[in-house]
């Protein structure tokens, strides 16, 4: 008996264990699936709720909602062109500034800076990423917008714009198409599309640069050392070795920053000027989707509320399209590299 037990028990225990493991694995699998589905459900729910909330506006204005620049609560006419344009342009300006600067920061920290400096500066960047956006908004309103109005804007309007103070067009404004319009403005205030773009850039630099720095550090030292050994300069190593090795992660980081810029609300509301007008000039005030919703939602009712919901849905759509473009770019890159 005892000998028998000694033989069968371990076998039975093993079998039991195997069965239990299989069951636990299945349970664990379901649990994970549930977590993932929860995210999907939240996303679809939010998109669906905004679409449902905006159905009146979409139904009433149809496709004209996208093309109209009117936003008139007095006569209940709404169009999304001004906020959508403002969102895209401020985010584009932010990327234009933030990407090169972040690249510089990341390269400096991972390749050039002395070792003792890297950790403190890296933590400082992470701290910067943690600052709430309302603080950036206050800084923008109280410090940056007045500075912009006093020092940066006059220079831009006078040397690049088509409405300079002394009436004399600069060479650039006269000869390069669009530049004059882009920088022409006769309003004296700092709050503008360009100011909002710059504040957004400051906000997303920490995100992009910390992603870039992390991935730059994953480049195998032997690749870099080999390049240096062949006589490459630091720039050549970064451009020809580090960047190709980390390209997809770098693009991912950039789009993370862009996603934040597109949806940023408070900081933009404070420095964008909140004027519902379509102006080609980057120095005139404008409006973005998120700022319009933040401004008007609490007091809106009826068609206005529906139009704001429709705007929220459009923000989903815009963000989705941007992410889609990112995916396509990454796929094309992967394709090219695989060739």
């Amino acid at each position: 008996m005892q000998a028998n037990d000694g033989v069968t028990a371990p076998g039975m225990i093993q079998e039991q264990r195997a069965r239990r493991d299989a069951r636990d694995d299945r349970l664990f699998g379901w649990l994970l699936k549930l977590c993932a589905l929860l995210v999907l459900a939240a996303l679809l729910g939010a998109a669906g709720a905004t679409l449902w909330g905006g159905r009146e506006a979409f139904g009433h204005f149809g496709l004209g909602f996208l093309a109209s620049s009117a936003w008139d609560p007095g006569s209940d006419t709404y169009g999304a062109l001004v906020p959508v344009y403002g969102t895209l342009v401020t985010s584009a300006i932010a990327l234009l500034i933030a990407v090169p600067v972040s690249f510089g920061v990341a390269v400096y920290l991972s390749e050039v800076a002395p070792r003792w400096l890297r950790t403190p500066v890296a933590s400082a960047i992470e701290l910067l990423a943690g600052i709430p956006s309302i603080i950036y908004g206050m800084w923008g309103l109280f410090v940056f917008a007045p500075f912009f109005a006093d020092h940066i804007k006059p220079w831009l309007t006078n040397y690049l714009g088509d409405k300079p103070d002394d009436g004399k067009l600069s060479w650039v404004a006269a000869h390069v198409p669009f530049v004059g319009k882009l920088f022409g403005s006769d309003s004296p205030f700092g709050a503008s599309v360009l100011a909002a773009g710059i504040v957004l850039a400051v906000m997303i630099i920490p995100f992009i640069s910390s992603v870039m720095r992390e991935v730059f550090q994953t480049v195998p030292t032997r690749l870099k050392e080999s390049a240096y050994a062949l006589g490459s300069s630091t720039w050549e190593v970064v451009w020809d070795i580090v960047l190709p090795y980390t390209r997809s992660a770098v693009i991912g980081g950039i789009f993370l920053g862009l996603g934040r810029a597109l949806g940023e609300t408070m900081a933009v509301t404070f420095v964008l000027g909140n004027a519902m007008q379509l102006s080609p000039s980057l120095l005139d005030p404008g409006a973005s989707i998120a700022s319009t919703i933040a401004n008007q939602f609490s007091e809106a009712a009826g068609m206005q509320k529906s139009a704001l919901m429709a705007l929220a849905f459009l923000l989903f759509v815009v963000t989705f399209i941007v992410l889609l473009i990112a995916r396509l770019m990454l796929r094309r890159l992967a394709h090219k590299e695989g060739r």
Binding site: A70, W71, D72, P73, G74, S75, L141, F142, A145, P146, A149, D186, S187, P188, F189, G190, A191, T269, F270, G273, N274, A275, M276, P285, S291, A294, N295, Q296, F297, S298, E299, A300, A301, Q304
Partner: protein, 343 residues
């Protein structure tokens, strides 16, 4: 290690603690209101003094008038507060009643080199033309005609308005609609409108900040903000044809001379009030309650609170640059309570 019995013990301790915390609070009746941010400072001051006296707390969420009306319609709060009166038919439809609680002034503010507070004088039509973007320079003859003897610089006018929907904008644009026909035709009035010109600041603080930053700007804020931030306000010509300065007296004069007696459910926006000494952009906030209370005990406390505030809250109101309602109007309101409300 946590086992079942420790869990139960912990749970019972938590339950006792919770009962101790919430038990003491439950002895007083806490009432909840939501809506206008215009009335929020004075309501919180009143509720602090009232809680000291009676132990009943008032929990007010400053979420905006529109949200306040929506919440009282759903019955999730005991009272709503709105900067725009509800229409009589809407009130009847939901079984609601409304009455004003406090008066405040909205003042145009300017930033012009060399012009001090109270020096610039404008009338409603000119103010409207400025906000329409038709008058674009401070040395415009229309402005000069109203300001003989004041040297106005030749500078571009920058209009600053509220970017968010607000009761302040509602009353300001309502005034412009009354005094400037083109404004009434093109822009109309509301908590947010399609501003013909200028830049939008978020909240009173956003507008005062822009006005202080931008030379040659004109905006409008609640009186308290102009005083606190030391921005130059202007004098306005009122409906009686006199130039008046914003002050507690002129706000009170507007509230006293407005024709409340013939306004059903106090549905009267008192801008451009007829009194000889009335400030033309004077505003109030309406409190909205159910006529048949959903929660009798809460509604009773709410009425007791507003009765106390209307009769004894003048000083707190004055310290925040609001003006208490004139005694005659308080009498009207109390008569309205007894005739319209069950409590």
């Amino acid at each position: 290690m946590l086992n079942a019995s420790t869990l139960i013990r912990l749970g019972s301790i938590a339950a006792i603690a919770a009962a101790a915390v919430f038990g003491t609070a439950a002895q007083a009746t806490d009432i909840t209101g939501a809506g206008s941010s215009f009335v929020y400072p004075v309501l919180s001051k009143w509720s602090a003094s009232y809680a000291e006296k009676t132990g009943n707390k008032l929990n007010y969420q400053s979420v905006g008038s529109g949200a306040g009306i929506a919440q009282i319609k759903e019955g999730t709060i005991d009272f709503g507060a709105s900067d725009a009166p509800m229409k009589a038919e809407d009130l009847a439809k939901f079984g609601l009643g409304q009455f004003p609680v406090v008066v405040g002034g909205i003042v145009p503010v300017v930033n012009i080199t060399g012009v001090q507070a109270g020096q610039l004088k404008l009338d409603g039509a000119t103010l409207g033309d400025i906000f329409l973007g038709k008058i674009t320079n401070w040395n415009d003859p229309k402005i000069a005609a109203l300001n003989a003897g004041l040297a106005l610089p030749a500078g571009k006018i920058t209009v600053v308005h509220r970017s968010d929907g607000s009761g302040t904008s509602f009353n300001f644009t309502n005034y412009l609609s009354k005094v400037n026909p083109e404004w009434a035709d093109k822009v109309k009035f509301g908590t947010s409108v399609d501003w013909p010109s200028g830049v939008g600041g978020k909240g009173n603080e956003g507008v005062s900040q822009y006005v202080r930053q931008i030379k040659g700007s004109i905006g409008y804020v609640e009186y308290a903000y102009a005083v606190k931030n030391k921005i130059s306000w202007i004098n306005l010509k009122n409906a009686a044809g006199a130039f008046v300065a914003p002050s507690a007296e002129t706000f009170a004069a507007a509230a006293a001379t407005a024709d409340w007696a013939s306004a059903k459910d106090f549905n009267l926006i008192m801008t451009n009030a007829p009194g000889a000494n009335a400030w033309p952009i004077t505003a109030t906030t309406w409190v909205i309650l159910y006529k048949q209370p959903k929660n009798a005990e809460h509604t009773k406390v709410a009425f007791d609170f507003f009765k106390w505030a209307l009769e004894n809250g003048q000083q707190q109101a004055a310290s925040l640059d609001y003006v208490a309602l004139p005694p005659a109007l308080v009498k009207n309101i109390e008569a309205y309570w007894t005739s319209e409300f069950k409590h």
